[in-house]
Each structure stands twice: as C-alpha cells, then as structure tokens.
Amino acid sequence: MDLRNDSPTRFLLPAEAYRDPAWLEREQRALFDHTWHLVAAVDELTEPGSYVEAAAGRSPLIVVRGSDGVIRAFHNFCRHRGMAVVCAAGRTSSTLRCPYHGWEYGADDGALVRVPQRAGQFADVETERWGLVPASVGIWGGLVFAHPDDDAEPFDAFLGEWPQHIGSFRPERLTQLARVRIEGSFNWKLFVENHIDVLHLWYLHDRTLADFDHPRFQHRNLGGHWVSYEPLKGGEVAEAAITRGTTPIAHLAERDRTGIGAHMLFPNVLMASSSEFWISYAVSPLTPDRSVIDLRVRAEPGADAAELVAAARSFIDEDVFACEQVQAVLAAPRFEVGPLAAEHERPITTFHQHLLAVLEAGTVPEAGAVPA
C-alpha cells in the first residue's frame, strides 16, 4: 500500500524555504494565490444570508449562503477604495454594505446595487463594472473550500480520487462542535512535513499515540494528497487513548472504529480521524516563521466538544512544539538536514517534489502528476 518509489528519500528544500520572505512571496504567488483553501464549514453558514470572513492565501474572502441556499465566495474588498466589506460573521437579509462609504452589494451575486450620493459624486460610474470579485467554492465533507480565481481548476479534479480512500468516514454527516485557532512560530511547511512523517509517531507521540500499532501504519500519496490509516494495537475494540469522548461516530465500519487516520489535501489542509471525531486543521503562513492552524472538530451532535478538542490538542501541541524547535534551529548558520528514513519519511520528499514543481512552473499540477 505504501507509495512505490525506489528513489532515495531526500529533503529537497533549502533552509531559505523556511525563513526567507522572498521564498514565501513565491509560494504566495505560484501556489496559494491559485489553489483551493479550506475556508469555512457548512455549519458556520446555516441560514440564507449568513456569511463569514475568511482568507485564501493573501486573498481575504466573504463566504456567504445566498437566499437560494447556495454557498458562494467573493473577494472581501470593496470595489471603491478597498475596505473589507464584512469584518466578522453575520447575517444579512439582502445586501452586504461596506461600512466606509456605504456601497452595497447583492449577497447572491455580488452586484453593486447601491452607491450613496451617486448622482452628485459618482455620475460616470457604471455600476455593472464594480460588483464584488467572485471566487470559486467547493464543498466536501461539510467543509467549504474556496479558490481565489473564479475560473479555477474544478474542485472535483482537485480532490481526484482522494475521497475514495478515507474508509467509511462521511464527515458531512457529522456536526462541527468546535473551532480553535492556534498560532505558532514555525514555517507552515514544517507542520505539513511533520503531519506526513510516519517515523515520529513512535517517539514524539510515544505517550499520546501509544495505543496504536505503528508497524502496521499504512499510507499512500494520491498525487500531492495523502491518506493513512493505523489500527489499534491487537485490533481489539478497546478504549484508545485519543478517543476520550463518549459518543462514537455511528456510521463507521469496523476498521474505522478500531483505528485512526491522518490525511492531507495538498498543500496545507491536514485532517485526522478517530472513532469519535473528524478534525481538519489547515495550516497557513503568516510570515516565513509564523503560521496559524485553523482547527475544526466534527463529531456526533451530542459528543463532548471540550474532551474532543483536548484529545486533538494532545498530539497537535506536541507537533507544534517540535516544529517550533526545528524553526528556531533553522536560523543557525551551520544547520543542515541529515539523512531521511528510507520509507517513513518518504511523504516529505513527495511533498517537496510537488511544491517545487508548482514553484518552478508557477502553476498547480494535475492531481496525481508526481514529477520525475
């Protein structure tokens, strides 16, 4: 089941990739400006007219459920002078109004529907030209994704066959019970690399993930995306260390009731699953050495949210700690990465290959196209 690849595992990125503002600028331009971002959950947009603000890389977005129930996204800047049209979550009955000079936009189509003092001050302005700039939206598993371009690569093509490899999980049948923002002093890629590093499970998580049978860890890349599964030790249905809630997910098959999963959608949407939760935690750069993790916890409606957040954080906090330590060392002039594990760190090499391909081409490759 492991990715078959006979080339040696290697750490392909230079130290600059983790600390240089110019490198981050390249990533923003070539990658984040033109890829799918996890920006919301359908649970955050329950009513027609409800909206949230979000960000897709450098692009601030408004994600809004229209009066027709459809979720859409627009760039969150007023076409007049650029004020953010919405600054928090809310609900509108008709239009989105910019607080700066009162321009109003239709919540269903972004059209500019009102310019105060138009006759006196904006006589020549053709309102049709100044609607909100649309972005693209895709929905999977109760999660809302957005792409800054309105002519984006189709969302289904981006997902590829990844949704067929996550076992019996149907996250859309669960409810979002918690959302937590975690900031840390590390480059976003360190957190991704840590997530797809199989080797550290034995050591960094020796207590938090002790009940799982790491030698039987299975994983594979699907293009830049990644899926994995590992069973409980002995495969018994026992209370595992990280499933401390009280409400197992009802729809799971046996395999998923007795194991955990960790997944990734390239480049920065991380996910993990247990018998009681499905968590997503997108990691986004703030600066070269600072990132933010946007953790969302989905579970059965009656589950204990605080316990599930604590369970997720038991290992996420360990990961954050490790990434911060590595980031601190990256500044040292004599630091260099040593040899990688032949198989357990192969996903890092694959991640680097995909990232470098994007940065070199300036575009995102088709899902499944691993560069030679």
């Binding site: 607080p99 000079h101 020549d124």
Partner: protein
C-alpha cells in the same frame, strides 16, 4: 509656493487615485519617502513642553536623520545631528537633562548646548594634539516652533517654517494653542501605511457612513474645505437642534461663542492631522514606522486646568482609532490581495486625495 500652485483646482480636476499599490507595501518606496519627503520637509518632532528646562535634550528621528533637540541656556530649542563628531556615537538615546554641555558617553567629548561647538576633548594633549576643535562642532539642523510645536527640517536648503506654513496659522480658526495646555498624549499603533490614514483624514465622503453615529450630528452637506499651500483646512457645524457628547473638559475660554458648534479638521502637510472642538485642540501625527506600520501620536490640548475625562477620551478614540484606524487597517490588509485595485473616486468629496498624491509625487519625482 509655486510648486503647489501647479496642482489642479477643485472642480477642474478628475478625482483619481494616483499612487500605485506598492507605495503602501514596498520597502524601497518607503525608503524613498524617508529620504526625499521626510528628509526635505518640516517635520513635527516634539512639543516645546517636552523640553521644559534649559539644558534638556530629546533625541528624535527625522526621516533618515537622527536629530538631538537641545534647549539652550538661553531657552531656545535647537537641533543637531545626533552623532558625535569623533566616532559617531549617539549623544543621547533618551530624553534627559544635559546642562550647558552635551557629553558623548563613548569617549567623553563635550559640545556646547547653545551652539554645538566642541568644548572638551579628554586626553587632548596626549591623544588629539593636532585636532582643531573648531573643525568638529556638532552639525546643526533647522528647528523652529509654531504654536508650541517643534518642527525640524533636515534639508540644509530649507526655507523657513513660516514660509512652509504660509497662511495656515490664520486658517485654523480662532484658536491660540499657546493659551492651552497639553492634557494628554496618547499613542496608538496602526497596522497600515501612514498615507492611508492621511487619505482617510481628507476624505469628505466617509463622514456620512463610517462615522454615521459618531459624527452624525454634524451637517456634512455644509462641510467646507480648502487647500492652503500643501496644507488642508476644513470645518463643519452642528446640525440645527442637534447636540453632541461634550464630556467633562472645560470649554476653551478664548474662542467666540459661534465657534462652539464648529468641528475643524486640518492637515499640516504631510502627516499631521489636527482638529478642534469647543473643548480641545488636538494634533495626531501619523508617524511612519515601516512600509505597513505607523503610529498615531495624539496630543490633546485643553483649557488650563482641564483634564481629559474618560468620556472625552472614549469619544475621541472611537473616531480616530476604532473607526478611522480600523478602516485603514482593513484596507492595508486588502492591499496585499493580488486581485485588488482601487475603484472610482467621488468627483468632489475624494478630490483631496488626488491633490495629496500629486503633492507627494512632486516631491518623490
């Protein structure tokens, strides 16, 4: 000021946003402004009360130039480049009292507060036998005061401050700031380029919307504004029958009654908004601290004996920080979006932004 007279007149010019996006983001543009604009204009650097005693010193940064303000034994405030003529050490790193001579902490050279002359070199006969002290006085920079405010222009060819201010002192209303006292100084960090805050200050249109509640009692339709050389003045009055939160500050005694319902907002070019009401006269300099950051340095002046009460402070910060500051911080964030570009401007109510941009571009050319 002939340079300014070439700027288009209101009514004939099209309101356009002339500066490119990188003017608000780019370190290179920021450095050029520091050099060509702030290095060659009269900068507000202090208030006279910041150096109350003869012999007091205050280090300030003026564009790229470190400047030491010194109040001489004669009571006059002067400016010198804050670099010792020996090896360049800063003569003072914080406000303090030096007395008649300013002494460099590195190797003890001493300079006269009143004229910057080098008056003492320790171990002179043994170590600096050939050194002519007359050749190594502190380098002076132009410093002048107006209305209790201290300005500095690092340009050696600077025209006098009176010429730079021109008619402005007569156009700020019936206020004499010298008859007021500073009742508070507040500093507010802003995550935006300084120009965004200034553009907001001279944008008439936003009064109706962003300040719908906080300034809704004023008659914006009667808002009058004008350019005075590179500076800008404006006033508007309370709507008939309307009132506004007046706080507990003492009314300013020396202004006539008809001034009591007037709200004035002015700009001392390039970065010092001022405003006045019945109880206070304030300056709120937007100090650039980086391409994407600045600091609002607010000085509130009031009638002697007055105090900035909690209500007055809250009313002030609601407008300057929570509304204006909030809006321009949002715009700064949006500027990084690859898809953003400024749209059409209001033909009259945003025209001051166009003129402000022209004034900047002339100086950066």
């Amino acid at each position: 000021m002939t340079a300014v007279d070439t700027v288009g007149q209101a009514g004939s010019e099209r309101a356009t946003f002339l500066l490119p996006k990188h003017a608000y983001l780019d370190a290179g543009w920021y450095a050029r402004e520091q050099r060509e604009l702030f290095g060659k204009v009269w900068n507000l650097v202090a208030a006279e009360i910041d150096l109350p005693e003869p012999g007091d010193v205050l280090p300030v940064q003026v564009g790229c130039h470190p400047v030491l303000l010194v109040r001489g034994t004669d009571g006059v405030i002067r400016g010198y480049l804050n670099m010792c003529r020996h090896r360049g050490m800063a003569l003072a790193c914080e406000a303090g009292h030096a007395g008649a001579n300013v002494r460099c902490p590195y190797h003890g050279w001493e300079f006269a507060a009143d004229d910057g002359s080098l008056v003492r070199i320790p171990q002179r006969s043994g170590q600096f036998a050939d050194t002519d002290p007359n050749a190594w006085a502190l380098l002076p920079v132009a410093v002048q005061s107006w209305a209790g405010l201290v300005f500095c222009n690092p340009d050696p060819d600077a025209a006098p401050l009176e010429e730079f201010l021109g008619e402005l002192p007569q156009r700020i209303g019936p206020f004499d700031p010298l008859r007021l006292t500073q009742v508070a100084r507040l500093r507010v960090p802003l995550r935006c380029n300084w120009k965004l805050y200034i553009e907001n200050h001279i944008d008439v249109l936003h009064l109706w919307y962003l300040h719908a509640d906080s300034l809704g009692m004023f008659d914006h339709a009667g808002f009058a504004h004008d350019w005075v050389g590179p500076h800008w003045v404006s006033d508007e009055v309370l709507r008939p029958g309307a009132d506004r939160p007046r706080g507990a500050m003492l009314p300013i005694a020396h202004i006539p009654d008809e001034e009591r319902d007037v709200l004035r907002a002015n700009l001392i070019f390039p970065n010092v908004p001022t405003s006045s009401s019945e109880t206070m006269w304030i300056t709120y300099q937007v100090v650039p601290t980086g391409p994407e950051t600045s600091e609002l340095d607010i000085r509130v002046l009031g009638e002697p004996g007055s105090q900035l009460d909690a209500e007055s402070e809250a009313t002030l910060l609601a407008v300057l920080r929570d509304e204006d500051g909030f809006a321009v911080e949002q715009i700064q964030r949006v500027l990084r979006s690859p898809k953003f570009a400024v749209g059409p401007l209001a033909s009259a109510h945003e025209l001051p932004i166009t003129r402000f941009h022209r004034l900047l571009l002339e100086r950066l050319a």
